[in-house]
């Protein structure tokens, strides 16, 4: 890829951010993360059950993948801010994937709480990557309060419905001065490629890989799709036409060699 993928003060060789949820085993997750080529991967913060043993952090450290804690499951700005602060203390990173969901059924972001939490965390020195609706106005407001990226959903988390409103994703990507990362809803490689063709700087996905039949193979497909979509966007596609345009000339018009 010609340009590096820069978020805040870091640059990454891969534009694919992985999640770790949904994998059937740590070994399958390991193979998938390696195949994906990702350099940044999310984890969730949860209550320590008696007898819990750490393993996901050991895996990410072994693979030299940066950890991106999320605030999954938080329903209020207050919960999300506390979870982000606990993650900073536990993991030693001030980066956070900020999620504030409205309800458990849709897992859609609550825009009011999200913006409130984003403002508080930016002021507290966090590098905030908010999971947001595919709403260009909210994306702009998140950028205005100092978020390092905006991460609109393609469709609800885990749905595999792809990008339901490509026009809005394109609007967000055109207007943003920070990286736009398509987060949630990806089901297939073509969805990931489309996100990049629409102008996104990266893609974040988990279920599409971890819940597929062969996670490592799907991870490789997503890695290639993100790279292909990015290259396609950079190359500049041909205009769409209503009628045919022959690619074989009626007489020899080839330039002389």
């Amino acid at each position: 890829m010609a340009e590096t993928f820069t978020i805040g003060d870091r640059s990454y060789a891969s534009r694919l951010i992985m999640g770790t949820g949904g994998a059937p085993s740590i070994e399958i997750l390991r193979e998938a993360l390696i195949a994906s080529g990702t350099r940044l991967t999310t984890v969730a913060m949860r209550r320590v059950a008696a007898g819990t043993r750490g393993s996901i952090l050991d895996l990410l450290a072994e693979l030299e993948i940066d950890v991106l804690p999320n605030t999954a499951g938080c329903l209020t700005a207050g919960d999300a801010v506390l979870t982000a602060r606990l993650a900073r203390e536990a993991l030693g990173t001030s980066w956070v994937k900020l999620e504030v969901i409205a309800d458990e059924r849709t897992l859609l972001p609550d825009p009011i709480e999200l913006l409130d939490a984003a403002r508080t965390l930016v002021d507290d020195g966090f590098t905030v990557l908010p999971y947001t609706n595919d709403d260009p106005v909210l994306a702009r407001k998140l950028e205005d309060v100092g978020c390092a990226a905006v991460m609109p959903l393609g469709a609800p988390i885990g749905s595999g419905l792809g990008i339901r409103n490509p026009h809005n994703i394109e609007l967000i990507a055109e207007a943003a001065r920070v990286p736009v990362i398509l987060d949630a809803g990806i089901g297939s490689a073509s969805d990931a490629a489309l996100a990049m063709e629409l102008g996104c700087a990266g893609v974040l996905l988990a279920s599409a890989v971890t819940r597929s039949q062969q996670p490592a193979l799907m991870a490789a497909a997503m890695r290639d799709a993100v790279a292909a979509g990015y290259a396609c966007r950079a190359a500049g596609r041909i205009p769409v036409r209503r009628f045919a345009l022959a690619s074989s000339p009626s007489r020899d018009e080839s330039p002389a060699f």
């Binding site: 984890v43 913060m45 209550r47 320590v48």
Partner: protein
Amino acid sequence: MRVTINGELRDVPSGLLLADLIAQHTDIRSGVAVAVDGEVVPRTGWSAYVLEDGAVIEILTAVQGG
């Protein structure tokens, strides 16, 4: 006295130190963070933190997700 640990009420000796409570709850030392009454208590403060009756303690770590 009674405190709440990760959502569960527990009877503990009065004057219990936060560090001792955490040690009873989990063996994990890295990747763990603790909040008492909604405020993060940095690791360096655990051994001097005297819990009070009614304290609400959250002990979190990173798990697969997102």
